[in-house]
C-alpha cells in the first residue's frame, strides 16, 4: 500500500513538473517574447518601453535563469504577474476561483446524479422501449453544445416565460439553470462508462450465482453490480475535470456570470501570456490532484489493483 501511494504521488508531481516544462518551452516557441506579443496591438509603443517592460518581468534573462526562477516561484506560490494589470497572477485567479468552483462542483454533483439515474433506469426497467430511450440519452447529452442548451433555456425561461432574470441575480433559477446545463454536458461520459462497466459486471459468473440464490434484481444492482462497476466510473470522473473547467468557462459566458471564464477571455483577447500560463498550470494541477485522489481511493473500491501493481495503473482509456 505504501509503495502504491508513493508511486502515485511521485507520478503526479512528475506530470505537474512536465506540464510546467512543456508550457515553458511552448512559450519559447512563440513568434516573439510575451511582452512584444502583448504590446503588438499598440502601435505607439517604442523599443525602449518594450525593453523596460521585458526587464521588469524578467524576460531579458537567459532562458535557464528564467526557467529556474519561475520554477522556484511556483514552489513558493508565485506564478508571475499579469501583463495587462500588473497584478500577481495568483491573486487574479484566486479572486474569481470561488464562484467557478461553486458552479463546477454543483454541476459535477448534478452530473453524477443524472448519470446514476440513467444507469438505474436502463438496468432495472422491464420495458424494452424505456431502456432503449434511456440508453440513447448519454450520446445525445454528449452532442448538445453547452452554448446552445444554455441559450435555448435562457430564451425559454427568461424571455418566453419570464420566470428567470437574464443576468445572475442570486435567485434559485439563475444558479440552478447554469448548473443543470453544465451537469448535462458532464454527465454523458460518466453515464457511458458506468453503463459499459455495469454490462461487464453483469456478464460475470458471480451475478448468476446471486440470481440462483434468489437475490432480487435491485439487490444485485445496488449491493453488488454498482460497487463492482464503480472503479472505471471513478476514473472517468477524474478525467472529466478538464471538461468541467472548460464547460464552466463557456457556461459563465452564456449566463453572464463572473468567474474564471471572464479572466480566461480577457487573458486571451489581450494576449496576456503569463496569465494564460498561470491558468493552464492551475487547471493542470487541479486535474492531476483530482486524479491522484481517484487513484488513491481506487484500492478501497477494488483491492485487486494493489496486487497487480507495477503492471499498470487503474487507468481507463476513454475515447
Amino acid at each position: 500500500m505504501g509503495r502504491y501511494v508513493a508511486q502515485r504521488i511521485g507520478q503526479a508531481l512528475l506530470v505537474i513538473w512536465l506540464a510546467y516544462t512543456v508550457i515553458f518551452l511552448a512559450v519559447q516557441l512563440l513568434p516573439s517574447d510575451p511582452v512584444t506579443i502583448f504590446l503588438s496591438t499598440d502601435s505607439a509603443v517604442d523599443q525602449a518601453t518594450i525593453d523596460n517592460m521585458k526587464r521588469q518581468y524578467g524576460y531579458d534573462q537567459p532562458l535557464l535563469v528564467q526557467y529556474f526562477a519561475q520554477l522556484g516561484g511556483l514552489l513558493t506560490g508565485d506564478v508571475g504577474y499579469s501583463l495587462a494589470s500588473g497584478e500577481p497572477v495568483a491573486l487574479r485567479i484566486g479572486g474569481v476561483i470561488g464562484s467557478t468552483m461553486a458552479l463546477a462542483l454543483s454541476a459535477f454533483a448534478t452530473a453524477v446524479v443524472l448519470a446514476l439515474a440513467v444507469v438505474v433506469a436502463a438496468t432495472l426497467t422491464r420495458s424494452a422501449v424505456l431502456r432503449k430511450v434511456v440508453l440513447n440519452l448519454p450520446p445525445l447529452f454528449a452532442a448538445v453544445p453547452v452554448i446552445w442548451l444554455g441559450l435555448v433555456l435562457l430564451e425559454l425561461l427568461s424571455i418566453r416565460w419570464g420566470v428567470m432574470s437574464l443576468f445572475p441575480d442570486g435567485s434559485f433559477l439563475s444558479l440552478a439553470v447554469p448548473v443543470f446545463v453544465l451537469g448535462v454536458h458532464v454527465s454523458a461520459p460518466i453515464a457511458q462508462v458506468l453503463l459499459k462497466s455495469i454490462d461487464t459486471v453483469y456478464s460475470q459468473p458471480f451475478i448468476d450465482v446471486l440470481r440462483a440464490k434468489g437475490a432480487s434484481a435491485s439487490w444485485i444492482f445496488f449491493r453488488h453490480a454498482l460497487k463492482n462497476a464503480g472503479g472505471p466510473a471513478m476514473t472517468i470522473t477524474g478525467i472529466t475535470v478538464g471538461t468541467l473547467l472548460a464547460g464552466s468557462v463557456i457556461t459563465e459566458t452564456v449566463f453572464a456570470r463572473s468567474g474564471l471564464g471572464a479572466v480566461v477571455l480577457q487573458a486571451v483577447t489581450t494576449q496576456d501570456v503569463p496569465l494564460v500560463q498561470g491558468l493552464v498550470l492551475l487547471t493542470a494541477s487541479v486535474f492531476v490532484a483530482v486524479n491522484l485522489v481517484v487513484d488513491l481511493l481506487y484500492p478501497l473500491l477494488d483491492p485487486r489493483i494493489l496486487k497487480s501493481n507495477g503492471q499498470g495503473s487503474p487507468r481507463v482509456l476513454a475515447v
Binding site: 454528449a142 459499459k196 472505471p232 468557462v249 459566458t253 480566461v264
Partner: protein, 291 residues
C-alpha cells in the same frame, strides 16, 4: 465512446461479452451504418456543393426580409440582416468541417506516430511518450486551444491547430493499445520470422490491422472537434463575423434571443444532429471492425 480497460481481468471479461463474429455478420450492423452514413453524406454535400442545396445568398441579406420566422420559403427563418439562415448553415458547413477536419488530421497523424513509437520502440520510449501523453491529457483541450489562439492571432487555422493538438492524446492511446494487441498476434510473428524488417512489418501488417478502432475514433473525434470549435467560435476565437460558420451562427443569434429564437435554436439543432450522427457512425464502424 469506446472503452479499453487496461485491467486484464476486466478486459478479458469484456471480450467474452461482445460476441464478435456474430455481430460482424449481422446485417443489422450494416443497416445501422448506412442509417448514420446517409445523413452524413448529405452534410458532406452541403460542404462540397452548397449551391445545390440552396439558392439564397449567405452573406448579402434582403433588407425587407429581416427577422422572418421559419416558413416554407425560409426553412430556418432569416436574421437581423435579412439573410436566410438555412443558406448560412449550408454555406457554413465547409468552414466548420475544414476547421474540424484540420484538427482531426493533426490529432490522427501526430497521435498515430506517437502511439506507434510507444508500442513498438521499446519500454523506455513507451514510458517517455506515455508520460508526455499524460501531460497532454492533464491540460484540458480547451486550454490548449486557448494557448495556440493566444500565441497566434485568433482565426480558423489557429483554432483547428489548437483543437487538433488537444486531440493527439486520445489518438495516441488508442493507436498504442491497438498496435500492442496486433503486435502479439501470430501472423505478425510469422511476418518477422519470414524476414520482414521492422518498417515493412509495421506498415504492411500492424498498421492496417489496427485501423478499426482508430477509424471509429476519427468519426467520434470529428464530432467532438465540431463541438469544441463551436464553443470557441462562440467566445470569438474562430472565423470573423461575415463568414457563415456553425458556432458563429449560434453566437450571432445571442443578441436577438428575444426577437428571433430560430437564429440560435435551429443552427444548434444541426450541430446536435451532426455530432450525434458522427458518434453513431463511429459506434457502427467499431461494431463492424471488431475482431
Amino acid at each position: 465512446m469506446t472503452l479499453h480497460l487496461e485491467n486484464p481481468a476486466a478486459a478479458s471479461a469484456a471480450q467474452i461479452t461482445t460476441a464478435p463474429a456474430a455481430t460482424r455478420r449481422r446485417p443489422s450492423a450494416r443497416i445501422g451504418l448506412w442509417l448514420t452514413a446517409l445523413p452524413l453524406i448529405l452534410v458532406l454535400g452541403w460542404a462540397l456543393f452548397p449551391g445545390l442545396f440552396t439558392t439564397a445568398d449567405p452573406i448579402a441579406g434582403v433588407g425587407a426580409e429581416k427577422f422572418l420566422a421559419p416558413s416554407a420559403q425560409h426553412w430556418f427563418g432569416t436574421d437581423h440582416l435579412g439573410r436566410d439562415i438555412y443558406a448560412r448553415v449550408v454555406h457554413g458547413t465547409s468552414q466548420t468541417l475544414l476547421t474540424a477536419g484540420l484538427a482531426v488530421l493533426i490529432g490522427l497523424v501526430a497521435g498515430t506516430i506517437i502511439g506507434l513509437i510507444a508500442a513498438t520502440a521499446g519500454r523506455a520510449a513507451d514510458a517517455v511518450t506515455m508520460r508526455l501523453v499524460d501531460v497532454l491529457l492533464a491540460v484540458p483541450g480547451f486550454l490548449i486551444s486557448l494557448i495556440v489562439v493566444t500565441a497566434f492571432q485568433p482565426g480558423p487555422i489557429s483554432l483547428g491547430v489548437g483543437v487538433g493538438i488537444a486531440s493527439i492524446a486520445s489518438f495516441a492511446r488508442v493507436v498504442r493499445s491497438e498496435v500492442l494487441r496486433v503486435r502479439n498476434l501470430d501472423f505478425v510473428e510469422a511476418a518477422f520470422l519470414s524476414g520482414g524488417t521492422y518498417g515493412s512489418v509495421v506498415l504492411r501488417h500492424i498498421l492496417p490491422n489496427a485501423t478499426g478502432p482508430v477509424l471509429s475514433l476519427l468519426a467520434v473525434d470529428l464530432g467532438a472537434a465540431i463541438l469544441a470549435i463551436s464553443g470557441l467560435g462562440f467566445l470569438g476565437f474562430g472565423a470573423p463575423p461575415p463568414t457563415p460558420e456553425w458556432g458563429l451562427l449560434i453566437s450571432e443569434g445571442r443578441q436577438y434571443l428575444g426577437s428571433a429564437w430560430w437564429m440560435t435554436s435551429l443552427p444548434g439543432l444541426v450541430i446536435v444532429a451532426a455530432v450525434v450522427l458522427l458518434a453513431g457512425f463511429g459506434r457502427q464502424l467499431l461494431k463492424i471492425f471488431r475482431f
